[in-house]
Symmetry: C2
Subunit: 445 residues, 2 copies
């Protein structure tokens, strides 16, 4: 009998797995349920659409439902929300929104690409229409409409993580007055404090009203209430991170782990045979700490989807894990991080040594050589590199890939000093800043 | 008795070793002999001075003779040329150019930082004053004077390697008419042919008269003679590569290896006890082929100098080897390469598979996303990556560092696919081009 695969979620994880499974197995039936209208899009591109740098929202769509149908023979059903999972009967309960009817869909194997949802703290007024998350293309369309209407002259971003800061800059580009409220002492909680400071300086230089160490207490009429008094707002953007969208799995017996993410094995199989998961709804193993983590990033989702899809399609593939590598640009300041921060390393039980060095991303004698700060964290005694952070001008962010590759290989600081990295005056000082950090750490590791 | 160290050569290799030795041993006597006027400068920066981008030739000097004297108590003698080495008597014969006298200098240990000299083929007219090498700051001063005088309206570069192409672009920036003559079918012999083509297109788009597959036969009055007829020239720049400057070592018993480079062990010690070498005059071990190679690059010189200096100073350090990583920018086209080219891999006895992919250095939906081409070469069967080349727009060159780090770690294509590399729309497509190449190669490796 033909194998029937049901996919829940039409974004990178679900559709990536479906597409990969189809490559391996031309015969299986694949049905994908997506409650929204879009499939396979780049949520990371949303700030660039809102800012106007990318002119069309549709540019973010990598593959439309029809393309999935035509190219991969996947029965994509948009506007269909899965409302229940019956693992014993191997069937889904599905709500067809346009026809307002509910039906059952059988499956032999199930692919979970449930994604994540923006964290919405339980505060008065949080569900007001002027409070927006940034997760789906639907969210993007709403924010873009606001930006283009230009009626929201005052934007308040709650939370100083990647997406919050990217959105803050996007609204500045639209000529709006932007405030960012962050409850911690520094923005970018995935960086150590000394690396967050230059980001904060760059934000303030761009005119962003940055308020750190301030807790939001609620939302009123065109007002964000905080412990330090009210802040006027025509539009609120939530940048408090995301949590796995796994409410649907409660009571199914599918085991959940850290932050409620689906626990998976290295083949991306959940605790129930024939149920697979990938992307923002699932756990990953951190390659340095060895511990399960929830890291919601498109790169991870795509790789895990490819692994899940290969196994779904009858092949074999495994996903080794993540380093939490992330890069972004905020107000012309490039940011990169990989591995463990000093705080994360301590939490994972490492005794660490660390250093922070300042260098340039080109030869120092070239006029206007951009500055870069590199922070490196290594295990005391062994010198094994555990994490690296970079903040600086043009040419800073992607240097983190050197560190990501070296950490994956288990290199110590001496091995990084020895690396034969590319050098020419327009691209690097003679010693790459990453190697300078390693060389400095060598003397104290 | 105080140990006496003699250093021959005042650039990166010699002075780097001397400085490092001084750090470890405050008591030794260190005398450094340099026949020119400068110490510790960035020869890689010469094209940027000639183009006018770097306003002062002196900007390239990292540390002057006086700074070496003051900071590291090194007795630097510029204008002093070593004309003989007597290893049995442990003394040098030195010519003091300014006083036109010759004297002997004793030593206990000897550091060779002899550098390299531009290859000058034995052609009629090669020693004419209008034929310039590009190696020392003296060469740079001469070329800069020509560029600024502006009398040489027609520049002919002989040889299409890194330095030749960088100089070609520099003279174009000065408004001169530039021809490049290369005897091989393609420029950039360290790249495979399909990677050299986009570089050639970019050169021609800039108005450079590129003649490949053409042999130079001699130099006349304002003429470069070639097999394909004469080319008018007011100035000729040699870009034919360099050879180790080891003529001084003939007959000393110091063993020479590939291309006449000093053979060294992993501590940078030559075949004679107490004689050390680093940089362009010496051999390195290639980390992929395991074979001795001569790679004249500032990065290698600096690292080897640090190792030699540590050992000279009584410590222990070793240099693992090189990948021949190199990056440059020619006419807005960024170029990077590391490891073995397909031809080099075949020569080293590998059976290889390779792929060439086209991608972008940012998310494809960002307006003006620069294109990039990646070529990856892997060992057949094992999938171990042997070499990578990149050519493309902004953001291309330094991606080679991912490959350099991965190759150093002995990674195969699967491990590169699995790398947790940084992604954000301004910096990368979701799958980094390096990972795309690995993923493509995976299907055929």
């Amino acid at each position: 009998m033909t194998k029937r695969v049901a996919v829940i979620g039409g974004d990178a994880a679900g559709m990536g797995a479906a597409t990969q499974a189809r490559r391996l197995d031309p015969s299986m039936e694949i049905v994908a349920f997506e409650k929204g209208a879009y499939t396979s899009y780049s949520a990371c591109g949303i700030p660039y659409v809102v800012s106007g740098q990318v002119p069309e929202l549709d540019s973010l769509v990598v593959r439309s439902p029809q393309e999935h149908r035509d190219r991969s023979r996947i029965d994509v059903r948009t506007g269909h929300e899965v409302t229940g999972i019956d693992l014993a009967a191997r069937r889904l309960e599905v709500r067809d929104q346009s026809r307002a009817r509910t039906y059952h869909a059988p499956f032999d194997e199930l692919m979970l690409g449930l994604g994540a949802v923006p964290i919405r703290p339980d505060l008065p007024g949080i569900d007001d229409a002027f409070v927006h998350g940034v997760q789906t293309l639907g969210d993007a369309a709403a924010l873009l409409a606001e930006a283009e209407r230009g009626r929201c002259s005052r934007v308040v971003v709650v939370g100083g993580g990647y997406i919050g800061l990217e959105m803050a800059e996007a609204f500045v580009a639209r000529g709006m007055k932007v405030a960012v409220i962050e409850s911690a002492e520094h923005v970018m909680g995935t960086l150590d404090p000394e690396m967050a400071e230059p980001v904060e300086q760059a934000m303030r230089a761009l005119g962003i009203d940055l308020r750190t160490g301030v807790k939001v207490t609620g939302f009123g009429h065109r007002i964000v209430e905080t412990e330090a008094g009210p802040v006027g707002a025509d539009l609120v953007v939530l940048g408090l991170g995301v949590r796995p969208n796994t409410a649907l799995l409660e009571g199914t017996g599918i085991e959940l782990g850290v932050k409620g993410a689906v626990r998976v094995d290295r083949r991306q199989q959940a605790s129930v045979e024939g149920v697979w998961a990938a992307g923002d709804c699932g756990e990953s193993t951190h390659l340095v700490s060895g511990r399960p983590v929830h890291i919601a990033l498109g790169t991870v989702a795509n790789k895990q989807a490819r692994v899940a899809g290969t196994n779904l399609g009858g092949g074999y593939a495994s996903f080794p894990g993540v380093l939490g590598t992330a890069v972004t640009r905020i107000c012309s300041t490039e940011i990169g991080r990989t591995g463990l921060s000093a705080a994360e390393a301590a939490q994972a039980g490492f005794s660490v040594v660390s250093t922070t060095i300042d260098s340039t991303t080109t030869a120092g004698y070239l006029p206007g050589a951009p500055t870069v700060r590199v922070r490196m964290i290594a295990e005391r005694g062994t010198g094994r590199v555990l994490g690296v952070q970079v903040v600086g001008g043009a040419g800073s962010a992607k240097r983190i890939d050197i560190a990501a590759t070296a950490i994956t290989a288990g290199m110590d600081v001496q091995q990084i000093v020895d690396l034969d990295l590319g050098y020419a005056p327009p691209f690097s000082p003679l010693w790459d800043p990453i190697a300078v950090a390693a060389r400095t750490l060598q003397t104290i590791a």
